[in-house]
C-alpha cells in the first residue's frame, strides 16, 4: 500500500497547506462582522466551481489508480508471477496521447487568444489523436490475444488488461466531454464558457497522460523478454 499512502500523503499535504491558510487557530467567538464580500455569488473564490470540482475528481481518480498500482505491486511478489512482454505498439500509443495532450494545450492557448480557427484545428487534432490512442490500445489488446495472452492467462496479463481498460474508460469519458466542447466551438458558442470547457478538458487530458506515463513506466519496469 506504499504507493497509495504516498499519494494520499501528497493529497493530504495539499489539504494541510490549504487549511493552514484558513485561520484555523483564530477564535471565532471574538470576531463579529461580515468581512469582505466574496468575488461573486456561488463562486466564492477566484477558481470557477467546475474547475475545482474537476480537481477534486482528479484526486479521486488518482486514488483509484494509486490503489491499482498498490495492488499490482503486492500481487507481483506472489510466487506465480510471470512478467509480461509488452507489444511495441504501446510506444506509438504513448506518442499519440502525448500529441493529444499537446494539441489540447495549444487549444487552451488559442481559446485564450480567442483565435477561433486555431482552436478548432487544435481540438480536432486532440480528439482524433485521443481516439487514435484508444484504437491503438484495442489493437495492442488484439496483438496480446493473438500471441496467446488472454485476460486470465497470468496475473500480469490480468492486471495489464484491467488497468489499461480502466484508463481507457476514463479517457473515453473525457472524449465525450471534449466532443461536446468541440461542437460548441464549431457552433460558435460564448467564448467564456468555451474557454472554460476547453481548459477543463486540457487539465483532464494532462492528468490522464500523467497517469498513463506512470502506468506505462510501471509496466515497462516489470515486463519480461519479448515473446
Amino acid at each position: 500500500m506504499a504507493v497509495t499512502i504516498i499519494f494520499l500523503a501528497v493529497v493530504g499535504s495539499v489539504i494541510a497547506w490549504w487549511l493552514s491558510r484558513q485561520r484555523l487557530t483564530s477564535k471565532p467567538w471574538l470576531e463579529e462582522g461580515a468581512g469582505e464580500p466574496p468575488a461573486g455569488p456561488g463562486s466564492g473564490g477566484p477558481i470557477p466551481a467546475a474547475k475545482l470540482g474537476l480537481w477534486v475528481f482528479l484526486a479521486v481518480v488518482g486514488s483509484l489508480f494509486a490503489l491499482f498500482i498498490s495492488a499490482y505491486s503486492m500481487r507481483m511478489h506472489m510466487g506465480d508471477w510471470r512478467p509480461l512482454s509488452l507489444p511495441d505498439l504501446l510506444w506509438v500509443n504513448t506518442g499519440l496521447l502525448i500529441f493529444s495532450s499537446f494539441a489540447l494545450h495549444r487549444a487552451v492557448l488559442a481559446a485564450r487568444r480567442e483565435d477561433g480557427g486555431n482552436l478548432e484545428a487544435a481540438l480536432l487534432a486532440g480528439t482524433v489523436s485521443a481516439a487514435g490512442f484508444l484504437i491503438g490500445q484495442i489493437l495492442a489488446w488484439r496483438q496480446m490475444a493473438a500471441g496467446g495472452v488472454f485476460l486470465a492467462s497470468s496475473p500480469a496479463a490480468s492486471f495489464f488488461y484491467l488497468i489499461t481498460a480502466v484508463h481507457g474508460l476514463h479517457l473515453a469519458g473525457g472524449l465525450v466531454a471534449l466532443t461536446r466542447a468541440g461542437i460548441r466551438v464549431a457552433r460558435g458558442g460564448g467564448t467564456e464558457r468555451t474557454r472554460l470547457s476547453v481548459e477543463l478538458c486540457a487539465v483532464y487530458w494532462h492528468f490522464l497522460l500523467l497517469v498513463w506515463v506512470v502506468l506505462f513506466a510501471l509496466l515497462l519496469l516489470t515486463r519480461g523478454g519479448t515473446h
Binding site: 467567538w29 470576531e31 495492488a71 506465480d80 486470465a152
Partner: protein
C-alpha cells in the same frame, strides 16, 4: 482569506443577488421526481435509505430469532442465516448509514447551513441519487436471484465469497459487487458536490471557523469517502473479474470440494488490505457526521456554546487523517506479517486521544448549561453514553494482543454495533426530531418521541452491553448455532434475552415511522425556528424553505454558530446573520 474586522461592525448591505442562477422546475415531475433541488434530493435519499434500512431491520430480527432460539425456526437454514447477516451488515453500513448521513443530511443541511442556494452542480447531484437508487435496486434484486443474495459476510472475503460452499456464490455475489460499484459511482457524484459546495458556496462572512460542526463533520467525512471508496471499488472490480472471468487476483491454488480449480497464486490478504483500507475510514465516514450533528444538538438544546470549538474542529481533521493509517487493525490475526501489529496498534490507540477530547467537550458543553431535555437532546445524550461505551471497547480490540482472543467473537459484534450502529443511529433519530420542523413545518409528536427514545436507548444498551461478555466467553460471531460446546452452554439464556429485547426495540421503530407520517398532517405548527437556534437553516424566509432557500437576498453572516446565552443579549441566542452588536461585555 477573508479578513474579518474585530469588534462590533455596522450592518453591511445585503449580499446582492440579481436573479439566482437556478433551474426552476416547470412540472410536478421535475419538481418532485427528477428534481435538482438539494432538499428534494435529500428527502429522496433519506426515504430510500430508510426503506432499505427496514429490510435490514427485518433481517436482524430473523437472525436474532435463530440465535436466541436455535432449532425453533425451521425456515432459517444455515445458508439463509448467512445471507441475512451479510445483507444486514452491508445495507446498514453502506446503503443506510453512509447514504443517509451524506446523501440525506449532507444534501439538506450543507446549502442551508452555509447560506447557499443549492449545491454547485445540481444536475450531477440529481444523477447521484438515481445511481444510488439503481444500486439499491440491484442489491434488492439479489434477494430474488437464483441462489439468493450472497452469504459471504459483509466483508466478502475471497476465496470463500465466490466458491460454491457459500450461499449466493452464483448470482448473489455478482449483484452485490455490481451494486457496490454503482453505489461508489453515485456517491462520487454527490461527494464532489458536497466538497465543492462547502469550498465555494459559502455566503458572505461564513468563514470556515464559523461553520457549524455539522458541516465540518460532513465535509471531512466526504473528503475521506472520496479518497477511501476507490479502495472498495478496486477490490470489487478485481473480485468480480475473479468470479466471472477466471482471473487470479485474489484466488490462490485451491481444492474446492475435491475439485482442483484452475487458479494460482492469488492473494486473499490483498483483498483484505483493499477492503479495510476503505473499511476503516468508512467507520469514521459514518462517525464524523454524527460527531458534528450531535455537537450542534447538544449546544442548541443546552443553550450553551459548544465547548472548545477549535479543538473540536482540529479533532475532526486529525481523526480523519489518522483513520487512513489504522486499517490493518482489522487484520491482527489475518496472517499478515505480525510485526505490522506494533505500528497499527499504536496508531489505533492514538486516535483515542482526539476522540476522547470530543467526548469531554460534549459533556463540558452540558456543564453549566441550561439543559432543555427535548427529544433531540435525549437522543444526543443517549449517543454520548453508547458512543463512550463502544469507543472504550475499541481500546480492547485496537490493542493487538487483546484482539487475539476477542477477534471474531461477539465482543467485536457488540463493539461495532455500539459504536457505529447504535450511536450514529441515535444521532440520526435525534437529528430527524431536530430538523423535521424545518423540513415539514410541523413538530413531531413529543410523547411518541420520548417513548421511542426510551425503548430504543435502553433496549439497545441492554442488547449490546451484555453481548460483549458473550464474546469474552468465546462465543464466535457468524455462527448459525453454537451446538453442544460445553464452554459456551451458559450463553444460551443471555442470547435468548438479547433476542427478546431486540424484537422490542425493532417494533419501537414502527412508532417512530407512525410519528413521521402522523405529524406530517397533525403535528403542531413549528414556525421558522422552534428550537431558537443560531444556525442559518433556521433563518430562512420560508418554512419549509423553497427552492433557492433564501428568497431574493442571500444571508450575510456576522458571527460564529454558537452564540447562545451571550451575556447582555436580549435573547439567549444570536442568529449567525444577526448584525446588531448587542453584546455588552
Amino acid at each position: 482569506m477573508v479578513d474579518i474586522a474585530r469588534g462590533p461592525t455596522d450592518l453591511v448591505p445585503p449580499a446582492e443577488v440579481e436573479d439566482a442562477e437556478l433551474y426552476h422546475p416547470k412540472s410536478w415531475i421535475t419538481k418532485y421526481v427528477f428534481s435538482q433541488d438539494a432538499k428534494v434530493i435529500a428527502i429522496q435519499y433519506s426515504l430510500t435509505a430508510m426503506a432499505i434500512g427496514l429490510v435490514a431491520l427485518v433481517l436482524s430480527w430473523l437472525m436474532r430469532l435463530q440465535l436466541g432460539f436455535p432449532g425453533y425456526f425451521s425456515f432459517i437454514s444455515p445458508e439463509s442465516y448467512y445471507q441475512f447477516i451479510t445483507m444486514h451488515g452491508m445495507i446498514m453500513v453502506i446503503y443506510l448509514l453512509t447514504a443517509l448521513f451524506l446523501g440525506g443530511f449532507g444534501n439538506y443541511l450543507i446549502p442551508l447551513m452555509i447560506g447557499a442556494r443549492d449545491m454547485v452542480f445540481p444536475y450531477v447531484n440529481m444523477l447521484s441519487y438515481w445511481v444510488y437508487l439503481l444500486a439499491v435496486l440491484v442489491l434488492v434484486a439479489s434477494f430474488f436471484a437464483p441462489g439468493g443474495p450472497t452469504g459471504a459476510g459483509w466483508t466478502l472475503y475471497p476465496p470463500q465469497a465466490i466458491l460454491s460452499g457459500t450461499p449466493g456464490s452464483g448470482w448473489g455475489i455478482v449483484l452485490m459487487l455490481s451494486s457496490l460499484i454503482l453505489f461508489i459511482i453515485g456517491f462520487t457524484m454527490g461527494g464532489l458536490n458536497y466538497v465543492v459546495t462547502v469550498l465555494q458556496g459559502r455566503t458572505r462572512g461564513m468563514t470556515l471557523m464559523r461553520m457549524p460542526l455539522t458541516i465540518w463533520g460532513i465535509f471531512t467525512a466526504t473528503v475521506m469517502a472520496l479518497l477511501a471508496f476507490p479502495a472498495l471499488f478496486v477490490g470489487a472490480v478485481m473480485l468480480l473479474f475473479d468470479r466471472l472471468l477466471g482471473t487470479s487476483f485474489f484466488m490462490p491454488a485451491i481444492v474446492e470440494m475435491g475439485q482442483f480449480l484452475e487458479r494460482d497464486g492469488g492473494s486473499p490478504i490483498l483483498f483484505q488490505h483493499l477492503f479495510w483500507f476503505f473499511g476503516h475510514p468508512e467507520v469514521y465516514i459514518v462517525a464524523l457526521p454524527a460527531f458534528g450533528i450531535v455537537s450542534d444538538l447538544i449546544s442548541t438544546h443546552a443553550r450553551r456554546n459548544i465547548f472548545g470549538y477549535r479543538m473540536m474542529v482540529w479533532a475532526i481533521v486529525a481523526i480523519g487523517a489518522l483513520s487512513f493509517i489504522v486499517w490493518a487493525h482489522h487484520m491482527y490475526v489475518s496472517g499478515m506479517n505480525p510485526y505490522f501489529g506494533f505500528f497499527f496498534a499504536t496508531t489505533t490507540l492514538i486516535i483515542a486521544v482526539p476522540t476522547a477530547i470530543k467526548v469531554y467537550n460534549w459533556i463540558l458543553t452540558l456543564w453549566r448549561g441550561d439543559i432543555h431535555l427535548t427529544v433531540p437532546m435525549l437522543f444526543a445524550l443517549g449517543f454520548v453514553v453508547t458512543f463512550v461505551n463502544g469507543g472504550l471497547t475499541g481500546l480492547f480490540l485496537g490493542n493487538a494482543v487483546v484482539d487475539v482472543p476477542l477477534s471474531d467473537t461477539m465482543f467485536v459484534v457488540a463493539h461495532f454495533h455500539m459504536v457505529m450502529g447504535v450511536a450514529p443511529i441515535l444521532v440520526i433519530l435525534g437529528a430527524i426530531y431536530h430538523w423535521y420542523p424545518k423540513i415539514t413545518g410541523r413538530m413531531l409528536n413529543d410523547a411518541l418521541g420520548k417513548f421511542h427514545f426510551w425503548v430504543t436507548f435502553l433496549g439497545a444498551y441492554a442488547i449490546f452491553f451484555p453481548m460483549h461478555y458473550l464474546g469474552l466467553m468465546g462465543v464466535p460471531r457468524r455462527y448459525f448455532e453454537l451446538g453442544e460446546t460445553i464452554s459456551l452452554q451458559e450463553s444460551h439464556s443471555l442470547n435468548a434475552f438479547i433476542t427478546v429485547v431486540a424484537l422490542l426495540v425493532g417494533f419501537a421503530q414502527m412508532v417512530f415511522l407512525f410519528n413521521l407520517g402522523w405529524s406530517l398532517f397533525r403535528g403542531r405548527e413549528a414556525g421558522s425556528n422552534p428550537w431558537r437556534a443560531t444556525t442559518l437553516e433556521w433563518q430562512t424566509p420560508d418554512t419549509p424553505p423553497r427552492h433557492g432557500n433564501w428568497g431574493k437576498e442571500l444571508p450575510v453572516v456576522y458571527r460564529w454558530a454558537y452564540d447562545y446565552s451571550v451575556p447582555g443579549a436580549e435573547q439567549d441566542f444570536l442568529p449567525q446573520n444577526q448584525p446588531s452588536p448587542v453584546r455588552s461585555g
